[in-house]
């Protein structure tokens, strides 16, 4: 007990010393004319806009002033375009709950989205496959275009424009935090300098500005990051024949995973993570060639080897003896006929993890705090999870009348989300590395692992539950 207290004491001193030395301590005797916002969200992407929206619709924030800073222009979607956008997200049921809590989900439903009920994941180097689905074939997740989500969030932001102000085309160029102790004539609030020279003050700054977060860099928060030697190619594909299309397909090739996400009965979205050279080739090759490449990636068994085949057959037989249920019926992915012109884009992939999510008067949400490989489709869901957790803590703090920028509830948010996010980051990185090779021992390991996971249904249910949060 005494040891724990001593450790905590040391931790406090150490943390305070560290914080004071790292945080920039520019004192600002600002004009009293500057309004002090209660919360400023820097970055108006999906997660930042969701944060501002959620705070705006929260009943404990009814008398608070919230500001959302977005560097880009306002995107107005008068009419839904016929062509689907090539940037889509797999929204989990948990994120859908968050979005519906402030009414954005209704807008999405009125625009367009696609629910999928099953996910088939299989290996490129063996016959192992795993099928995820929920009991009664409930919706496992929803494929929604990013533009649609942004439009829905913008609509809801306008609905609470008395509390939430949105500044478009305004980029923050400087941040300064108050020092650890109060000095006379110094402001205890965070100061933000915008590109046009104006100053803002706020009690809490929420950084939602993406994986190259300026807020995180200004605060000096250590970011453990590395680039994967993979880029992701996205495209909108036309299927050769209309199907019910409520299954998400993912195949792990040695060069990287390729995924087909349903958009409509005839359209699917492609996300193919592969090496930089191959990605550049895919984006620049002709349409026919590209379609052939996609089809062969899903159908070809060039990487199969007899040894792995027989080893996996052996384990399958053993599992069938132990647990005589029918093996999951193997479905075949749909074949692709065409690709939408000008819908092929590539972007680089990497991993990022901020060691701390919070500082006094600062919280990070979304990609600013964590950046993940798209193989699990969890990037934006983790961001929405951050939003809902932070909302819960801030709402409780506002109800208690606490200082919103106080560390006491921010650290609860940090512990809560880091437990979830770090596990998911580690698991995704491990899967990426495990499936990036064609070496026989690792292929055998992952084949058997997949078969065992597939056979043990409680484990599968746990995975689905974790991913749906």
């Amino acid at each position: 007990m005494a040891v724990r207290l001593a450790v905590r004491g040391c931790g406090v001193l150490h943390a305070a010393a560290r914080r004071s030395s790292l945080v920039s301590c520019r004192r600002w005797s600002g004009n009293s004319a500057d309004t002090v916002y209660d919360v400023v969200v820097s970055g108006g992407g999906m997660v930042g806009a969701a944060m501002a929206c959620a705070l705006g619709h929260d009943i404990h924030f009814h008398d608070k002033k919230i500001l959302l800073l977005e560097a880009g222009p306002k995107k107005v979607l008068e009419k839904l375009p016929d062509t689907y956008s090539n940037r889509v997200s797999a929204v989990s049921p948990g994120s859908a709950t968050l979005l519906s809590s402030f009414g954005a989900w209704d807008h999405i439903c009125s625009l367009r989205y696609r629910a999928f009920r099953r996910m088939q994941v299989w290996d490129g180097c063996s016959e192992a496959l795993i099928m995820f689905d929920k009991d009664n074939l409930d919706d496992m997740g929803y494929i929604v275009e990013n533009d649609v989500i942004m439009h829905a969030l913008t609509e809801q932001l306008e609905a609470v424009s008395d509390r939430v102000t949105v500044l478009y085309r305004s980029k923050a160029v400087g941040y300064s935090w108050p020092g650890p102790f109060s000095v006379a004539d110094s402001s205890p609030w965070v100061h933000i300098t915008l590109g046009d020279g104006s100053n803002l003050q706020t009690t809490l700054l929420i950084g939602a500005d993406g994986h190259n977060s300026g807020v995180r860099q200004a605060a000096g928060i250590q970011n453990v990051s590395w680039n994967y030697d993979q880029s992701a190619v996205v495209a909108t594909l036309h299927l050769s024949e209309a199907t019910e299309n409520n299954v998400a397909w993912q195949r792990f090739l040695p060069s990287g995973p390729i995924a087909l996400l349903p958009l409509s009965d005839t359209l699917s979205s492609l996300v193919w993570s592969t090496s930089h050279d191959h990605a550049a080739q895919l984006v620049s090759m002709g349409e026919e060639e590209f379609v052939d490449a996609v089809n062969s990636a899903f159908w070809s068994d060039a990487n199969h080897s007899d040894f792995i085949g027989s080893a996996s057959g052996l384990l399958q037989y053993a599992l069938a003896l132990l647990k005589p249920t029918r093996a999951p019926a193997r479905q075949l992915p749909p074949s692709v006929a065409r690709v939408d012109a000008r819908s092929r884009v590539l972007f680089p992939l990497g991993l990022g993890h901020a060691a701390e999510y919070v500082r006094p008067r600062l919280a990070l949400v979304g990609d600013a705090a964590h950046r993940v490989h798209p193989l699990a489709g969890q990037g934006v869901n983790m961001g929405f999870g951050d939003v809902s957790s932070l909302l819960r803590h801030l709402s409780a703090a506002a109800f208690d009348g606490k200082d919103l920028g106080s560390l006491s509830h921010l650290t609860c948010y940090e512990t809560d989300r880091q437990r979830h996010n770090t596990a998911l980051l580690a698991a995704t990185d491990l899967l990426k590395r495990l499936y990036s090779t064609g070496a026989a021992p690792l292929v055998l390991l992952r084949t058997w692992g997949l078969q065992v996971t597939s056979a043990v249904s409680p484990l599968k249910e746990q995975i689905v539950a974790f991913a749906s949060k």
């Binding site: 450790v7 905590r8 931790g11 406090v12 943390a15 305070a16 250590q222 970011n223 453990v224 993890h353 060691a355 701390e356 999510y357 560390l407 006491s408 650290t411 609860c412 940090e414 512990t415 880091q418 437990r419 770090t422």
Partner: protein
């Protein structure tokens, strides 16, 4: 009676001590031979330095400080204090003791292949100069001074060669070589000077390792290595200065040992060994840089992991 005997005994011993003290000034005129020999060779080095056109700018020896102020042209060297002539007067072209020793040792080198590094060779050398063979008693019995003299002479020759090569490069008559090639040539040149004496060199090496010879031999080695690096173009001012010289000293010593055992024609195996060691040393620099950057990345990662762990366990709460 017994007390009186004891007192006289003490007084007698005290008296003997006083006598010894009186004798001391006589013996102090002749300092121990080895350090004198070292000073002799050092003085020889200094006098040979004076004959050079330009003294090398960086020199690890302590007497380099005195170099800068001396004129480039050859001058008769200031005779060091001489112990033989007490009158204080000098005759013209009177040879100092050190110069004499230098001449004898140089002459003795001719006889080393026949007699080895022994007093016999020195005696023969003295005789060849027309001096009595008893002159060999001026030197140490085990031949250390002869060996140190030889090493000093080789180093001087090497410096001379390196300087000449540098002049050629500066005049544009020769190509500037890359560092590893330059060092390879320099070490090879220096080791080739051992070839005439290679039969007896192992004994010479073991004599150089005697405790009383280690300071001078180490100093000669370091100054040679410093010269080589200086002419190779090393201008480092950080810890690299030390690591480079240490590495080259290691390469030189190991190659010398290999040469002792080498029986291939024209010592080809030795030169191949030298080439490999120099390549290893060059690669070591690259690896060190990579290890450093990996180490830094690792430390960053560990710190991030520690902070995350603190957050995960909830130890961040009481902040």
């Amino acid at each position: 009676m017994a007390a009186a005997a004891a007192v006289t005994g003490v007084l007698g011993r005290a008296g003997w001590r006083l006598l010894q003290l009186r004798c001391l000034p006589v013996s102090r005129c002749h300092p121990p031979p080895v350090s004198r020999a070292f000073r002799a060779s050092a003085v020889r080095l200094r006098s040979s330095e004076e004959h050079k056109q330009q003294p090398p700018p960086s020199f690890s020896e302590q007497h380099s400080e005195t170099q800068g102020t001396e004129k480039p042209h050859a001058e008769p060297p200031r005779p060091p204090p001489r112990y033989t002539d007490q009158s204080g007067e000098e005759e013209e072209d009177y040879e100092s003791e050190e110069q004499l020793q230098h001449r004898i040792l140089t002459a003795a080198l001719e006889f080393v292949p026949a007699h080895g590094w022994t007093a016999e060779a020195i005696a023969q050398g003295a005789q060849s100069l027309g001096l009595s063979s008893a002159a060999a008693s001026m030197f140490e019995n085990n031949g250390s001074e002869l060996i140190l003299h030889f090493v000093t002479q080789c180093n001087t020759r090497l410096t001379h060669i390196l300087q000449e090569e540098q002049k050629l490069v500066q005049l544009g008559q020769a190509e500037k070589r890359k560092t590893d090639q330059f060092l390879r040539d320099a070490v090879e040149t220096r080791l080739r000077m051992l070839i005439p004496y290679i039969e007896h060199w192992p004994r010479a090496l073991s004599i150089l390792l005697l405790p009383q010879n280690i300071p001078p031999s180490l100093s000669l080695l370091t100054s040679m290595v410093d010269e080589m690096w200086h002419y190779a173009g090393d201008q480092s001012t950080d810890f690299n200065w030390y690591t480079r010289r240490a590495v080259l000293a290691g390469i030189y010593n190991t190659t010398e040992l290999v040469m002792m055992q080498d029986s291939s024609p024209d010592f080809e195996d030795t030169w191949r060994f030298l080439e490999n060691r120099i390549n290893d040393a060059m690669n070591m620099g690259h690896t060190a840089k990579q290890v450093k950057s990996t180490g830094e990345a690792l430390v960053q990662g560990l710190m991030g992991a520690a902070v995350t762990l603190k957050n995960l366990t909830g130890l961040n709460q009481r902040r």
